[in-house]
């Protein structure tokens, strides 16, 4: 078949790292989904802000892939068609993103891996490590259990993310690293589509099997599923909820934390992450070296064995104690947003109102 054809590696498109901050250029930002709050509400605006700040003449093209690998590929292609000079890619599937990286490189467009380390030899990488997030969540859960003196024979339920989402596997692996041996895992589920409804049903079955009183804690991979877990516990008549973990620092999750229903969530300080990505993108597009700024540049190796200069940020555990110092002081949410009527008489809000 290939006898009469040619395989073109990269014939046209993209003018390589020749853009300049003075003239401005176009930056493509590809985010994976819109169903968790952070991407549309924080990553995108923070990133656009950073670019506007660092390179006033630049423009940002933005796409969201709704958690669909092939959609993301189409979106990347549309951007390359548009003639972006650098891609900032938060991959739906880090491994499958190799095709996007490949295509960009064939058109001499550099790629910055954002949040997830896309395969295929990207130019820079900035992230909170998925694996680390899992360990941090688990660690927080262990601490909470210890505080309640549940000890070694504590029994927990694990509600992991979607079996078809590769990132869920990272969180799961990280969490297991900490939890295995420390506590006994009574029931463990993968949740199709990260669905809160499914998580609720799974939790109900776990309660049926183990008994509501026997559950000392629940590892839930994100805030959405935590809401389902808590609904199941409440419906089963549990008043004194065991610690439930979460991730993403959704507003609803923060509200559950101040109401005492959810124990913690993971807050990723997105502003520094987005700013770093912006700096990396500008460096890559203009062909300069990036030194890592205040966080310092390290080198990581991707699954294909390529070394990538990277900045890794630390995820922050948010519990009722440090809401003020994290999400509020970073401008993530305001007190008014959190303390709606339904939450006005929580300790947190009464305190905030009085101070």
């Amino acid at each position: 078949v290939t006898g009469c054809g040619t395989t073109t590696g990269g014939a046209a498109g993209g003018d390589g790292p020749s853009a300049s901050v003075e003239e401005g250029f176009q930056v493509g930002l590809l985010l994976p989904e819109s169903k968790t709050t952070r991407y549309e509400k924080f990553d995108r605006p923070f990133f656009e802000e950073a670019i506007a700040d660092l390179c006033p003449n630049c423009t940002v093209a933005y796409q969201n892939a709704d958690q669909d690998t092939s959609k993301q590929q189409s979106q990347a292609e549309a951007m390359l068609t548009e003639g972006v000079d650098v891609l900032v890619l938060d991959a739906v599937d880090a491994e499958a993103a190799a095709s996007i990286v490949q295509q960009a490189q064939s058109q001499n467009v550099p790629v910055v891996a954002y949040d997830r380390l896309a395969q295929g030899g990207v130019d820079y990488y900035v992230s909170f490590d998925n694996h680390t997030i899992g360990t941090v969540q688990a660690q927080a859960l262990i601490e909470a259990l210890e505080a309640e003196e549940a000890g070694e024979d504590a029994e927990i339920v694990m509600i992991n993310g979607s079996p078809t989402d590769p990132n869920a596997a990272d969180y799961k692996a990280g969490a297991h690293e900490v939890l295995d041996g420390q506590v006994s895992i009574g029931m463990e589920y993968d949740t199709p589509d990260w669905s809160p409804d499914r998580a609720q049903q799974q939790m109900e079955q776990a309660i049926t099997s183990i008994g509501a009183d026997e559950i000392d804690g629940v590892y839930s991979a994100n805030d959405g599923m935590a809401s389902g877990v808590i609904a199941a516990l409440k419906s089963a008549g549990v008043d004194d909820l065991p610690p439930v973990t979460g991730q993403d620092a959704e507003l609803a999750g923060i509200q559950r934390i101040i109401a005492g229903d959810q124990y913690m969530t993971i807050y990723k300080a997105i502003q520094p992450e987005a700013r770093t990505a912006a700096e990396m993108a500008i460096a890559a597009a203009t062909g300069e070296e990036y030194d890592g700024g205040e966080f310092g540049l390290i080198e990581v190796e991707d699954a294909g064995g390529e070394t990538v200069p990277a900045v890794l940020l630390d995820p922050v555990v948010v519990t009722e104690e440090n809401i003020e110092d994290t999400v509020i002081s970073d401008g993530y949410y305001s007190i008014e947003e959190i303390c709606t009527d339904a939450y006005a008489d929580t300790d947190f809000c009464t305190e905030a109102a009085s101070s």
Binding site: D197, R198, Q200, Q201, E204, S227, S235, E250, A252, R256
Partner: protein, 416 residues
Amino acid sequence: MAQQTPVAGETVPAPDPRPIVAGGSPRGLVQAGLRRLRGGELGALPVLVGLVVICVVFQSLNSNFLSPQNLSNLTLQVVSTGLMSCGVIMVLLLGEIDLSVGSVSGVSGAVLAVLAVNQGLPEPVAIALAVLTGALIGVVHGTIFAKVGVPAFVVTLAGLIGWQGAQLYLLGSDGTINVPYDGAIAYLTQTYFVPAVGWGIAVVAVGLYTGLTLYGERRRTAAGLPARSVAEVLLRAGLLAVPVFGGVAVLNLWNGVPLAFLIFLGFVVVFDLVLRKTRYGRMVFAVGGSAEAARRAGINVDLIRISVFALASTLAAVGGILAVSRGFAVSQSSGGGDVLMLAIAAAVIGGTSLFGGRGSAYSALLGGLVLGAITSGLYLLQMDSSVRYMITAAVLLVAVILDAVSRRSRRAHARG
């Protein structure tokens, strides 16, 4: 020539000797039953048997399966999708399909939460407005389908995509909205009846069924029409009483009969009665059987179609509201995922045809219970998700094969 009315009695033919009539005796009933079994006219029986088999298998694998707690949970787990199924059944009876029920349930849930939480409307008002939203959406779908002539598949596919967009838009960047644990919304699924009320409902239900059926058969006998014997009616009432009283007893062992499940049952019963006992239901079946014949009979086919789509979306909205109530929250993924598939699958497994004109509202209950039981049992057994998917598929097939085989023998007898 003497003028005669068309009802002249002159030529009443002798009774046809060919139909094989069952006597009223128990033996006659059993014989008729066996004949139906062979002839494939089993109605819901195969699915019921499938359900029993599923229960027995899971119970033998995990003794918690038939525990009152688990059964109580099961009743609540099937409610939301079951209500959507109810609407889907109406659409399937027309011979059409509604792909939008999941999205409509999601957008109605979002409307509910935005109105009740963000806008601070009283919860009952918000519930009413959310239901209304569903109804309006259905009218839009139905009108585009019936009046413009876009295939229902495409209209509701556009609905599936478009209303999901509206849901995302409504929920805005916050994503999830929590609803209070103690408002009217939450009470919908958090309310259980005390045992006495449960028993009362069961007695009234079985009593009404028996009374009305006996009255109906008496009228038939009085009119000289073939009727069921009293023995048969009582036998049927007994067969109905077993699950009803058994169910109440088991649920009373836990928290009592849940309000939400009663709402669901109420919808199923009402829809069944509407479909079987009213002109409207008759017209729905007629349009599903042959739209052209219905049109020639003077039925306003467009109106029936629009109303059915409106009903389907309304029920989807009700299902969405109950889902919000149960999860204390609405999120961007509400109504997404496999909700649509489950709603349609429940209808089909329960015996409603995809090709129109054949089915019953009870499909929603039976099919929903089959699917719910499979999921519940597999979660209890806690398998790898890959294995869980494969087993779900296998159990699904097995649960339907009995029905299929019996229907096959019926099909072999049907005219082309």
